[in-house]
Structures are given as C-alpha cells and as structure tokens.
C-alpha cells in the first residue's frame, strides 16, 4: 500500500552548520591534532620537530620545577576564579535589578577598548613602590615605607580578577536578568532570611550562568602568562610562561606542546564533570513524565457546598 505523502519541513540544519564546521576543522581540529602529534616527536635543535617518535617531552615534565609551576598554576587560577565569581555575582545581581542596565553594561565593557597589555602596565603604575597607592599612603602619612604591592602573588591575583571580572559578569548578568525576582519574595514569605533566599533560591536558578562564568575565567587563567611576566617574578611562573619559554627560549616545541596537552586535559576534566552532572539531572527530569496535564473541573467533593453557606 502506498503511504500518503505528508508535507514535511526539511531540516536544513546540517547545511547551515557547514561553514562553521569547516572553519573549526581547518583552524581548530587540525592545529589540535598537530599539537598532540608534535608532543610525541623529538625536538629539533633550532625549533621545530624531527620525525622521530619520542616521549622526551613528557619526560621533561616530570621535574620538581615543573611540578611547582603546575601547583602555582592550579592554586592561582582557582583562587583568582573564586574571587572573580564572588565579586561578579553581586555586581551582576545589582545590574540585573537596575533601571540603567544598558549604561552599566557599557561601563563594564569600556575597559576592553584599551589594549590588555596597556591595562596591565596601568596596574603597574598603581601598584609599584612609587606608584599611585603607595604615594597616596605615604603622602597622607599612613605608612613610612612603600608597601610591597608589586612582584608578588597578590598583584598577580588582583590583575587576574580585574581582567576576568567582565567575562564573569556578562554570563551572570544575562542569567540573573532572566531570573524571576518574585521567587525571592516567595522565599522570604515562606520564612527564608535574606541570605537563605539567595542561597536556596537565587543561586540554584542561576547555576548555568555561574558555570559559564567559571569556565570563562578558569580556563583562560590556566594558560595565562602575560601578567606574571610583566608584574611577577620568575618564581611566579605558570604553565603559560613555561610554554612561552620552551618555544622562544629553549626552542623545545614538543615540551611546549606536551604542556598544552596536559593543560587541555586539565580543563576538560572540569568540563566533563559539569556536563555529566547536567546530563544526570536532565535524565532524572525526563524520567518524571507528565501523566495527566489536564486537571479540568472534577466532580465537586462533598465538603464543598456550592449553594449553601454564604
């Protein structure tokens, strides 16, 4: 029997996605493969690689100095991310509730019109021993000798937070803006204190924004190197600096690539963990199917006397 022909909307999704797929293949997938493959080759003396399979690059990573750099990278990135998110949350909340949203959004974005390195140097003039802060404090007689604000972890973390605050505020702002603030009133009404209403109602409902903000902050921080180079000391080197040095100073490309591969794995562990969590929740949610959506009028119960009473 012939099936009746149905009008069906053709799905052109594949075709629409083609340009970006091509772009990603050429400029993302191929370089990624190059990085992975090259990390398993032998370094040439003046840069580049020799077509010889070798684990030298990974062996190079098993040194106490690299372990220390590894440790630095992790704790500095984690602490910077935590501070950034903790500062971005109230800021985004305030922006989302404000009547001058667009204006505040522009204020947050404006610093991006200035080159990043120039902004880091600006921080240098603020933090250095004869910089703005120290001059003011000495001028007012609050301190006799300049505070050591430069060349230390505090300086690096301050600038990291400053740099990534915008990246954290933007996704948080866009999720909190969609949040229904009557839910906070409902929570307060039901007995929650101000803090309880934020922790138990606001935060779970803007989780997606928080996760995005963490990714936008934590992952670039793992590979950062400029701030440490300009403001820090050699003791504050992170993996990003090590990659930089291996390419430009030691001409050891495979080691640089091996560090990049380890960094990627590190970043993806977090990503996979969050995605797995989300999928679990989605599965649990879809398991709870709607069995009757319709709850139209049913027979009035005995307790209800429509005619009597009033």
């Amino acid at each position: 029997m012939k099936k009746p022909r149905l009008h069906r909307e053709r799905n052109y999704g594949t075709i629409y996605a083609l340009p970006i797929a091509l772009w990603f293949t050429v400029f993302f997938l191929v370089p990624l493969l190059v990085i992975i493959v090259f990390s398993f080759l032998k370094a040439d003396v003046d840069g580049g690689v020799m077509p010889l399979v070798s684990l030298d690059a990974y062996r190079n990573l098993l040194r106490p100095r690299i372990f220390r750099i590894f440790f630095n990278t992790i704790w500095v990135s984690v602490v910077s991310t935590l501070i950034t998110i903790l500062m971005a949350l109230p800021c985004a909340y305030f922006m989302a509730k404000s009547k001058a949203k667009t204006f505040l959004l522009i204020l947050v974005i404006i610093p991006f019109w200035t080159n990043f390195i120039i902004r880091v140097f600006a921080w240098k003039t603020i933090l250095e021993s004869n910089g703005v802060i120290n001059s003011l404090l000495i001028g007012f007689g609050a301190i006799a000798n300049p505070l050591p604000l430069e060349h230390n972890w505090i300086a690096v973390i301050i600038i990291n937070v400053y740099t990534y605050l915008t990246y954290a505020i933007l996704p948080l702002f866009s999720t909190i803006e969609k949040f229904d603030f009557t839910l906070l009133e409902a929570a307060r009404d039901l007995g929650a204190s101000k803090i309880q209403s934020i922790v138990r109602v606001l935060l779970p409902n803007v989780k997606a924004g928080i996760v995005t903000a963490i990714f936008f902050t934590f992952i670039p921080l793992l590979g950062s190197f400029v701030v440490q180079q300009l403001i820090g000391t050699k003791d504050m080197y992170m993996l990003g600096n090590e990659i930089n040095d291996n390419i430009y100073k030691y001409f050891d490309w495979p080691t640089a690539y091996a560090i990049a591969v380890v960094l990627m794995l590190l970043a993806n562990v977090g990503l996979l963990f969050v995605m797995k969590n989300d999928r679990k929740q989605a599965k649990a949610a879809s398991a709870r199917r709607v069995d009757d959506v319709d709850d139209g009028p049913r027979a009035p119960r005995q307790a209800i006397s429509v005619a009597g009473g009033r």
Binding site: D189, V293, R301
Partner: protein, 370 residues
C-alpha cells in the same frame, strides 16, 4: 476558630506622585474570608503587599492579632502569600516546593514527609509529588502554591489574584475549592481580586476599593443590594443609574423626579429632604419587560415606562434587552427563560414594550459621589 484578626489603621502609601492608598482602615475578623475588590490600580495589591511585608506604608499601622507587624520582615510574619503567577521554585520538585518552609527550619525528615503528603492531599496533588513545576498545568501549579503557603500553618493566608491565570471553567472550580479549604482549616483569608463575581460568591465580607480609597465594606448582599456609592453600584454587577430630585415623601416611600424620565417611586428607610439631589439604581434583573401594559391593579408603588427594544441579546440562560425610553435613556433588562411566562410571544427587535419595577427594587445611593 483559628486564624487571626487583622487591623489596618490609617494606611497611606505613595509611589512617587501616585497615591496608591489614602488613609485606608479595615478590621478583618478572625477566620473571615475577606476580599479586596476593585479595578486594577485601586491599591488592593499594594495593601496586600503591605500586610505581607513586601512594602512599607508611608503612614499607618498593620496589626495581626493585635501585634504591630510593620517592624517585622516578611519571614517573621504569620502570614503567607499565594502569588498571582504561583512563584513556584523551578529547581525544586513539587514535594520540595511544599517542603521548602520546613527545610528552612531544619525539620526532621520523617515529619517533613508526613506533613508535605498531608498538604498535597489537601489540594489533591498526592500523585504529583515527584514532578517538577514545569510539568504541571496552571491549576496544578496553583494547588502547589496553596499547599506551600499553608504548610507553615499561618494565621492569615494572603491571595493575590490567585485565579487570574486560569481559564474560566477551571477558575470557578478552583474558587469553590479555595472556599472548601477555607472552611476546613478555618484561618483568615484575604483575597485580592478585580472579579466581582469571584468576590461575591465566596467572601464573608468585601471591601470595594477605588483609586486608593475603600468605598464600602460589607457582606456580598449589602454591597450588591445597597451600594454605598455610584461607583460601587456600577462596578458590582450591572445596573441602571439615574440622577433625580426628591419631590415628595410618604413615610418610607419617596417620589423622585428623575432627569429625562419623570416620576419614579422608590422606598428607602433613610431620610431625604424634599429638593435633595440623589442617585437611583435599579438592577437589570429586577425589571420586568412585557409587550402589554402590566396590570397594576391600582397599586401606587409600581413604576411603568414604555420604550422600544433597541437590541435583544440572547445568552443562553437569560436574555438581555436594551430598551430605549427616550433619545438619551436606555434601560438594561435581564430576563430569565422559562416556559412559565405570561407573554404570548418572544420580544423582538424594535418592538414597543413596557418596563416595570416595584418601588422596593429601586435603591437610593446615599454617598452622592464617584
């Protein structure tokens, strides 16, 4: 009886230059189903939010069982709210939504389970505990919101237009259910609505509000039959309103000279001076419409006017007629359908008819304003 008395004394509230409430005072009794009724912008929701603690009044006081609650934050008041758009927590299941107030108090798990199940049964949602709010229909969401607001055993339940998001049939059903829940748990309900039929059918008493003022407080019967102002008469149900002058009085019977209509008799137990300007209201269902002149049998307390049917509107259980008595005067008349009628034929468009009513069915609106 459980529930609290609520005293609202001299509450005023302005938003910028807009006066939302002007010196509003109300006494709400223990266990009462009390409605705040009025058109949007009348201040009824603002008043509810002041009782709940979401707004602070500029002046006045709010007491629950005699205790001034204005210094207390919303979470420390024994009043819970059912919000207009339910305000269910989307990240929590139905069970956890209802359990929310108990979780805040770190209640033991076994007690939470028992109590939540009790309240889910009260609103007939026992089978839906595990669902997320997004999977529920409007009516079901409303029930969850009610269960959640009741589980703390408040002495007052505040309902902010709780049925406005539901369709007409479900709305009526939920209203009856709210009434049943009120009868069962016996706490004070303060119900905000702009729908006069909702307010009339379930309230013990109603406060009619308009532009930040309370115009009248009374039982549904009082408010419908004896409206305090022209606005109340016109807002609650449909009515025919006239202006006129008192011409003569004989005991409780008054003869009015109604503008553009002439002599009308009306009974009223209040005292009016001859020459006083008054408003007269007659409800459309109290008018009798007939093709032939009604037999008055010499009674002097019947008003009869002749006019032309402008437009008959058939609406199932009744017909509505617009009867034109003069170029500017049109009567609204409702007539119930039944076989037991004394007319020979149906009333048609453009037909000459008689409209009549007894003096007792007219009502002089005292507060000659609005």
């Amino acid at each position: 009886m459980k529930g609290a008395t609520i005293g609202i004394l001299g509450i005023s509230k302005a938003f910028g230059s807009f006066a939302a409430l002007n010196d509003v005072s109300l006494d709400i009794r223990k266990g009462e189903f009390f409605s705040l009724l009025g058109p949007s912008g009348c201040g009824k929701t603002t008043l509810l939010r002041i009782i709940a603690g979401f707004e602070q009044p500029d002046e006045g006081s709010v007491t629950i069982d005699g205790i001034n609650v204005l210094p207390l934050p919303p979470n420390r008041r024994h009043a819970n709210t059912v919000f207009q758009n339910y305000a269910l927590f989307p990240h929590l299941s139905v069970f956890e939504n209802v359990a929310f107030p108990l979780r805040l108090k770190n209640t033991k798990n076994s007690i939470v389970t028992a109590k939540v199940n009790d309240y889910l049964h009260l609103v007939e949602l026992g089978d839906h505990a595990a669902k997320m709010p997004s999977m529920l229909s409007g009516g079901q969401k409303q029930r969850v919101a009610i269960a959640r607001a009741l589980i703390n055993e408040p002495s007052v339940l505040l309902l902010d237009e709780p049925l406005s998001a539901l369709d007409a049939k479900l709305r009526h059903h939920m209203l009856m259910e709210l009434d049943a829940i009120h009868d069962k748990i016996g706490i004070t309900f303060i119900y905000v609505t702009h729908d006069q039929s909702e307010a009339l059918s379930v309230s013990d008493r109603i406060a009619v509000m308009y532009q930040g003022d309370v115009l009248q407080v009374g039982t549904p019967h009082d408010i419908y039959e004896s409206p305090a102002t022209n606005f109340v008469a016109q807002f609650i149900g449909e009515t025919n309103m006239f202006e006129g002058t008192v011409r003569a009085s004989m005991g409780q019977m008054y003869v009015l000279d109604v503008d553009e209509l002439g002599r009308v008799v009306v009974t009223d137990d209040r005292i009016y001076e001859v020459g006083e300007r008054v408003s007269l209201t007659v409800r459309p269902e109290k008018l009798r419409i007939s093709p032939d002149e009604p037999r008055v049998n010499g009674r002097s307390d019947i008003n009869v006017f002749e006019g032309t049917v402008d437009e008959p509107i058939y609406s199932g259980f009744q017909s509505k007629y617009y009867v034109r008595l003069s170029p500017t005067v049109v009567f609204r008349v409702f007539k119930q359908h039944s076989d037991y009628t004394d007319e020979e034929h149906d009333i048609l468009w453009k037909e000459r008819v008689h409209v009549s009513w007894s003096a007792k069915d007219g009502y002089i609106v005292e507060g000659h304003r609005n």
